[in-house]
């Protein structure tokens, strides 16, 4: 049943109607709808597929995308270098990113350690730490589009949408906790290997 027909039937029954139509509410609901074609940049569908943000409602994802910065990088363009001050957290919207460590000089990239693909993310420490230094060099492996969120955006989000800001912080903390867990496992394995090697020697 359409909205108009519903109104017509209610009027025919002699029901008392509300004074006016809440256009602003309808507009709000329309904008909140993931099916809305208004400014369909694909961000909504993208973030719904990212596991980190799966506790976000449709409307929260819509608001979250307003705080993001779209940055386009050409193939081999430096995103940031090891040792640079870090302020932001990036999601790979299109393309891929290579990570390098142990850079010895300004022009040296260092050793390749990891390739990050679409829907993966990096740089979360930059968002949380007060004085962050990038621990790796990030280079666009191909023409890449990143969606970045930076410290001022997080502060603004916490001020304007505290519940959503807290949710996002919790998710970021979870990412870091997972990475810490992985690191701890790796350290345990490495320690075992060192002990075995020491025994052999």
């Amino acid at each position: 049943m359409s909205y108009e027909r519903d109104i017509a039937e209610r009027m025919a029954k002699g029901e008392i109607m509300e004074d006016r139509l809440e256009i602003s509410l309808l507009k709000y609901l329309w904008d909140s709808s993931p099916l809305s074609f208004k400014k369909n940049d694909g961000y909504h569908e993208f973030f719904k597929q990212i596991t980190v943000l799966n506790s976000f409602s449709d409307n929260e994802v819509r608001i979250f995308t307003k705080f993001l910065h779209r940055r386009e990088f050409q193939s081999n363009e430096v995103i940031f270098k090891e040792g640079d001050s870090g302020y932001g957290f990036y999601f790979i919207f299109k393309g891929a990113v290579d990570l390098y460590i142990n850079r010895s000089s300004e022009n040296d990239l260092g050793e390749f350690i990891l390739k990050l693909e679409k829907q993966q993310y990096f740089g979360e420490m930059g968002l949380l730490e007060e004085f962050n230094r990038r621990t790796a060099t990030a280079i666009a492996a191909e023409n890449t589009v990143l969606l970045g969120i930076f410290k001022p955006d997080l502060e603004m989000m916490l001020e304007q949408y505290p519940v959503m800001g807290a949710k996002f912080l919790r998710e970021t903390a979870l990412i870091m906790a997972n990475r810490m867990g992985q690191l701890t496992k790796e350290i345990i394995v490495l320690r075992k290997k060192i002990i075995e090697l020491e025994k052999k020697l």
Partner: protein, 342 residues
């Protein structure tokens, strides 16, 4: 850096230079724009709380601007409307002051003649009055211009303010998109920090000025000094200028104490009131409110204020402090980066 990145960097630098030139070359537009921006930064924390989640954001901004405009321009309009009465009272006060100063100078000259036996042939009253007359005449000549400027500001400031509230997030995004990738993170964070510091500084100075003005007014009311509200207002406004402000604010009160025949207009009384007010400001208000925002060395502040006053007058004196705080932040960041990369 490849060719495309270089082009992006040059384009961004050109936008910056053109915008700066535009602002410098058209002060008639820059000043109301700057004034609207200051009000925008001051009211931003409050408006965010009032309008976040509101379905009628446009309407909320409109009412905030309407109320703000009323409170800023209403006292000015009342003053302008009563300008003839004010001018008449100013002229009569001027004549009376002229006579009082003349009497004081004459009695001083007689005293010097009696004590040391020589006649002073200076006439400070005539020199001062001729200067006041010249300034007064130029003020009257310029009055229509000032009036048209006032109406221009009354129209432009609310429009700019509405524009800042409604469009600045979108426009700042567009501007940020032009920043080359290599300097984006740092520029964005510094730009945001400057905005936050500038806004916080203006709010802190506004609260400080209001508190100081209130203390002076209450103090003068207690001792029964004439014109307590006007002198309190002047003390508050001049206090915005760091270090030199309190001294400038005291001058009108001292003049009244010297020239007025009112027995309550005590020289010592006003000195005590201003000393107490400034002590409260220095010991309590400034450390709690302002110094946390701009942690600068006093000598640097004094030198910057003097240079800014020479370059761009009172406005320069007010805005120079957050700018210096920003440059300190910028140099710190550059130094940090250099020390890591070396």
């Amino acid at each position: 850096m490849n060719r495309n990145q270089r082009i992006k960097l040059y384009l961004f630098l050109s936008i910056l230079i053109i915008s700066t030139l535009f602002l410098v070359l058209f002060p008639r537009l820059t000043l109301p724009l700057g004034f609207a921006y200051i009000i925008y930064l001051m009211s931003k924390p409050m408006t965010i709380r009032l309008t976040t989640g509101s379905k009628k954001q446009r309407m909320s901004y409109f009412f905030i601007i309407l109320i703000g405009t009323f409170f800023i321009f209403f006292p000015i309009i009342v003053t302008v409307y009563n300008i003839d009465t004010n001018f008449e009272s100013f002229i009569s006060d001027l004549n009376r002051t002229q006579l009082i100063i003349h009497d004081k100078v004459m009695s001083l000259q007689t005293k010097i003649f009696r004590k040391y036996g020589f006649q002073l042939n200076i006439d400070p009253v005539r020199i001062i009055m001729s200067k006041i007359e010249a300034h007064g005449l130029s003020l009257i000549d310029q009055f229509p211009n000032y009036l048209s400027l006032l109406f221009e500001w009354m129209l432009l400031v609310p429009v700019f303010l509405y524009f800042f509230f409604m469009e600045s997030p979108k426009l700042s995004r567009k501007f940020l998109e032009t920043i080359p990738n290599s300097i984006f993170e740092k520029s964005y964070v510094l730009f945001s920090q400057f905005n936050t510091k500038f806004g916080e500084y203006i709010i802190a100075k506004f609260i400080e000025a209001t508190l100081l003005g209130a203390i002076v007014t209450i103090g003068l009311l207690i001792i029964g000094f004439p014109y307590p509200f006007i002198l309190g207002f002047v003390a508050g406004v001049t206090n915005i200028l760091p270090y030199v402000g309190p001294i400038i604010g005291l001058i009108p009160g001292l003049f009244i104490a010297l020239l007025s025949k009112d027995p309550n207009a005590s020289f010592i009384g006003i000195l005590i009131v201003f000393t107490i007010a400034n002590l409260v400001d220095m010991i309590l208000v400034f450390p709690l409110l302002v110094s946390k925002i701009v942690n600068l060395h006093p000598l640097l502040v004094i030198v910057s204020v003097i240079i800014a006053s020479q370059l761009s007058g009172i406005i320069g004196m007010i805005v120079i402090i957050p700018f210096i705080a920003f440059f300190k932040l910028l140099f710190k960041e550059i130094y940090k980066d250099l020390s890591v990369n070396l």
